[in-house]
């Protein structure tokens, strides 16, 4: 589904494009504007990474999640009380269009499987892996990195708890970038808190932009 946001004030989409060229330089703005980034899962990692990427001026985001917003998401995910009960795809699409009306959003409210994964992200050059379940993380990364088309994946692994800023690291292996502490899984007594999840989400978004800016023409 393609989302359009009709602005209720005097700004046009053109004003946003001009602002991005002014703020980011024409060269950077153009490169980000023509890029397509996928977000697999719109929870604590995905919703926050998507906001950072929309703000940075990524031209097209592919948003994929099957779930609806619940009260227990508000401790870390980029939703508000008004979003409870809505599909995350739709709630986030609305928010992103208000942040950057010139963004193009491809929105799929589905469960990611081995069968549909390639197809969902077929236009993306980079995909942010942002799901909760480790076996689904593996499925997404494995499927995308062994497909017929070359693309990069930026995954998150190890972001539970709080503090220990210095332990959150980026690791690169081939076309995979993994961000996190690599050891703090979410478990009984190890909750996800907004700051540490947000740090990893923003490092993922930052790594996406780096991949885009250093891609070969």
């Amino acid at each position: 589904m393609l989302y359009t946001y009709y602005m209720s004030n005097n700004y046009s989409v053109l004003d946003f494009d001009t602002m991005y060229r002014h703020m980011h330089t024409a060269e950077v703005a153009e490169k980000l504007k023509v890029s397509v980034v996928g977000i697999a899962g719109l929870g604590g990692l995905g919703s926050n990474a998507a906001v950072a990427l929309a703000r940075a001026g990524i031209g097209t985001l592919i948003l994929v999640d099957f779930d609806r917003v619940e009260l227990s998401n508000l401790n870390r995910q980029c939703y508000t009380i008004d979003d409870i009960g809505k599909y995350k795809t739709e709630a986030l699409a609305e928010r992103l269009k208000k942040i950057n009306p010139s963004i193009r959003l491809l929105v799929y409210t589905v469960i990611i499987t081995r069968e549909n994964c390639q197809r969902l992200f077929k236009d993306a050059s980079v995909v942010v892996e942002a799901v909760d379940d480790p076996s689904v993380k593996e499925l997404i990364i494995e499927t995308l990195l062994t497909g017929p088309r070359k693309l990069s994946v930026v995954a998150g692994s190890g972001m539970g708890g709080f503090g220990k800023n210095e332990e959150i690291k980026e690791r690169r292996v081939g076309n995979l970038t993994v961000i996190g502490d690599g050891k703090t899984a979410v478990a009984e007594g190890v909750p996800l808190l907004a700051p540490r999840v947000g740090i990893v989400a923003n490092m993922q978004a930052n790594a996406v932009i780096e991949r885009i800016m250093t891609e070969e023409e």
């Binding site: 929870g43 909760d132 379940d133 692994s157 292996v173 899984a185 979410v186």
Partner: protein
Amino acid sequence: MIQVNGKEFLWKNGMDLYDVFKSAGYTLSKPSLLVHVNGEVVKREQWDSFSVKDGSVIDLVNLLRGG
């Protein structure tokens, strides 16, 4: 010798990836892993049939719950 996440381990003839996990101290009750051998992803379905050659550089990425 083979290298696993930057550390060296003894290579044995006929080694598959499960043998590599074992020698690197991984127990496979820890289920989700992304495996690269010499920079290429090896899918889970190939782990038991993949013959590891001497001198291989192997990267194991743990995928932990949370997102």
